[in-house]
Amino acid sequence: MRLQWFGRSVLLGAGMAALGLAQTFPLQMVATSNGIVLTIPNGQQIPFAASVGQNQIIQVTATYAGSGKINIPAIPKVYGSNAFTATLAGTPPLTLNPGDSFTFDLVFRPTSTAEVTAIFNLPFTETVPGTGSGNPPPVVSTNAITLNLIGTSPSFQVSYIKDGNAISLANGGTMVFDPQPINTTVTLTVDILDNGSATGQINNITVTGKAFLLVGRPLLPTSVPSGQQLPVGIQYTPTAAGTDTGQLQITFGDGTTLSVGLQGTGTAPTLVYTLVQSGKSTIVKPNGTIPLPDTNVGSTSSLVVRVQNTGNGSITIGSISTAAPFQVTGAPLLPKTLNTNDSFQFTLTFAPTASGAQLGQLLIGADLFNLTGNGLGSSLQFSYVADGVTQTIGTNGVIAVVFSPVQVTKTASIPITVKNTGTLPAVVSNIAIQGANSPFSVSGTPPLPKSLAGGASFSFTVSFAPTAATSATDTLLINTTPIPLSGSGTAPPTLPAYTISGPSGTVAPNSQPAVTLTLASPYPVAINGVLTLTTSGTLGSDPAVQFTTGGRTVPFTIPANGTVANFASQGNQILLQTGTVASTILLTPSFATAAGVSLTPSNPPTLEFTVPAEAPVLIAATVAASTANSVVLNFTGYSTTRSLTALNVQFTAAAGFSLATSQVTVPLTQQATVWFESAASQGFGGQFTVSVPFTFSGTPPTGTALLQTIASVSATISNSVGASNSVTSPIQ
């Protein structure tokens, strides 16, 4: 039977049990220690465990279980080790009747951690009445309480490991951590070794000090067998530069306590940033602001930034960065490690490209600084109002001046405001629309160049007058800043009714009538038009049918809000030649805006008139050549039928003479056909010159040429329609 008692497994005397079978021990013993009660047989091996210098007392109460009497004559004795002592309660001799008890204490007080053994012996006698008949005599036997005592003693040794070395920790000692950068953690292991002979107990382990933390703590109390150790960790996490203290306290099972101080040093670098400018130094802290001096746009200003580590820890600066309009120059090669009191410096430059407040940031390692500077200069801002909302170019996605759709012939206007948001005066030298012949225009601009003080502004107007029903873009230039312009035109108003006034019905050939064109009502924009003349007929086209300006088209304009067409800048009427060929002449106008948007109705009213096929007309008769007895006569005229049948010539004799034959008919059909079908005649339309030689014969008076006898000649010419007028020419 094995019991666990005081941590030791105790085998209850099996031998004694076997012995018990042979003889019943008259005393029943109960051992009590630390509240634990255990019945122990005689001869039991009783373990004791106590720390050196500490007592463990087991009180044994023996009760006579016999029927006679027990006599204890003397005090008990302990043989073996001085670590054990025994005391009997009461003064011997002691007599016990059945059921009586007596106690004795067994005390173990080790003086070393070695295991010791002893034997407890307390002799006694027992008188038991004889049994049997005959008044037997009592039986007296001698016996003894014998207990085997074994004593062990735990002993703890505490140490910690640092740098691979074990360092003992005595009560009141100090466990020192190496300097540790703040916000970092180091853990040292504390070993609690039971180097005694008995299992020791650790009741509690505590760590105090805000920088220290017990880690790996087992469930307590816990036992540590002899030769075993219990490791725990002490974690040190400094949060600030400087010394940290704490305490480690181990409470053992025997009530003793080991208290050890904990000490560590938090290390941290401390960067001090100093601004050096114009011989003056100013310290700036991270997240603070570094102001750069006001600087003209296009110029630079700078200051020196000095970085020094005044802390007790080193630090590595990995990067130094900023962004335009600020820049860093002269920085050391990075990464740069600064040990205590080390420093470096660099130049911080402000190079504004725009006027006004400029903000930035400087990042040195993990330290951020706000940079400010003021760019001195002018800055022009452009804005306009659309639907009551101010649109500033370059903000909120506004990149252009956009017009709502505008009908061709109408104009929309948007006021543009130019404001100098800078700190220095700005000069506006140019306001113009970039494109030529643009539908966009500017007006209301101030006299240029204009100086605009900081904060001042002026306005002008951009107008959009679309010339076509399409989108339009252009660029507004203010100085050299381009501002896109965009708009779209919608279809122009319908052209009003118009009247072409001129010849109508049948018109005389070889005439030059006038034509005018008038709108029924004004049109809002200027109109460019073309009046086109076409001919139709079976006799070909007469090239003489033209306008004054040459050709068969003539441009005209109608001013905005006007009604009367001006032809080729020559007036409000245009003349045309009707020619000399029977044909139908048609005048067709077309209309468009100045930009070319057609306004021509689908079926534009036209003017039509006809040169009729009629009898020829003679214009003149002339003497082309003459001799004494002959004359060549030219008869000039036109035939709108482009045909001739005959020339009838009538000579008139001079006074005092008569002609036997005065009338001659010259057939012309064949020659006229040849002429009018020839290519040479095409350029003359129905015009012709008939040249006829006449030879006279006769006998005039002496001194008189034959030709002198003829005064004049008259002629008519005919075609299929009829005969012409008569023309006369003197012969002389």
């Binding site: 080729a568 008569s658 005065s662 010259v666 040849v674 002429w675 350029g683 003359f684 030689p693 006898t709």
Partner: protein
């Protein structure tokens, strides 16, 4: 009484070779300044058109009245151009010409041309045309003490009249290479024209808007007011359809072409113009160029005297100036 002579009029009517012929009427030939060319005016007024350029690249030209030859200047050189309208135009250098003139006037027979320069104050005659054109001596008119304002030639160019304006202004007559004979003192003579028979010289007096008629034979003169005209600028002697002598007058700012009858001594016909006339230049038998073309889109305005006085336009000629003979 002379006995009546009965004449037999015979006209060849052979059908095998018809003597009569038809052609297109050509009113005349003219220098067209906008196209720098010599061109025909085809057709008669009312249906006339410019023909194609016969000679191109001409800086100045002047066509003999009712003839087919002309004096032209090309690249500063003087040429005699002939054969206009014949299909074979020829050009021959005319040496000895002083320089490109401001204008030229011709004798009625077309044998003599007087080149003149208002700015240079000179005249130079070219005679012998068409067969043997030759330039005579250039004559500087500064000796007369005034500035040349008009030139005229008579029927055969034997008499040349010049007008100078200025404090010593007047009208002078000269025969070829002879002295200038003063005919009349006149501060502002504007235009000159010989009568068709050369007996009279007509002078347009700008000072009093009068027409002076100088009889060449005796240098006597008569003055006729040109009532109704505010700005006469050119005159040209001619005859009407009744063969009566008349003076054709162009009046500038009042835009009038008028026919002044020397018989009735009054303006018989006034035609209102839609343009401002620039002169009177012979073109056809019965027509004058009344307004010259200054730019391509301008028509040529003609004053036709038959069958009745009327003004017609010739539509603007197409095309820009180019070099060469067409």
């Amino acid at each position: 009484m002379r006995s009546l002579i009965i004449l037999f009029l015979f006209v060849s009517l052979s059908s095998a070779a018809s003597a009569q012929s038809l052609s297109g009427p050509v009113e005349g030939f003219i220098f067209d300044a906008p196209t720098k060319s010599l061109r025909a005016v085809d057709g008669f007024p009312g249906s006339a058109t410019f023909g194609p350029a016969l000679v191109s690249g001409v800086e100045y030209g002047s066509v003999a009245p009712h003839k087919n030859y002309a004096i032209a200047f090309e690249d500063g050189h003087c040429l005699f151009v002939s054969g206009l309208g014949s299909g074979h135009v020829s050009r021959a250098p005319l040496a000895g010409v002083f320089g490109q003139p401001d204008g030229a006037v011709w004798s009625s027979d077309g044998t003599v041309a007087i080149l003149y320069s208002f700015s240079g104050n000179w005249i130079q005659t070219v005679a012998g045309m068409p067969k043997a054109p030759r330039a005579n001596t250039y004559r500087n008119l500064s000796v007369l003490g005034g500035s040349l304002s008009a030139v005229a030639a008579d029927l055969d160019g034997q008499q040349i009249a010049i007008a100078v304006h200025g404090p010593k202004g007047g009208v002078y007559l000269t025969k070829l290479n002879q002295e200038f004979i003063p005919l009349a003192e006149m501060a502002n003579p504007i235009a000159l024209s010989f009568s068709e028979n050369g007996a009279n010289l007509y002078v347009l007096d700008g000072g009093g808007l009068k027409l002076a008629v100088i009889t060449i034979s005796d240098w006597t003169s008569q003055v006729h007011p040109l009532t109704g005209l505010r700005d006469p600028i050119a005159i040209l002697a001619g005859h009407d359809t009744a063969n009566q002598p008349v003076i054709f007058v162009a009046s500038g700012t009042d835009r009038v072409a008028a026919v002044y009858s020397l018989v009735s001594q009054k303006i018989e016909t006034t035609i209102r113009l839609g343009f401002q006339p620039t002169g009177l230049q012979n073109l056809g038998t019965n027509s004058f160029a009344l307004g010259s073309r200054s730019k391509l889109g301008d028509p040529l305005w003609l004053f036709s005297t038959a069958p009745r006085p009327a003004v017609y336009f010739v539509p603007a000629a197409a095309g820009a100036a180019s070099k060469g003979v067409e």
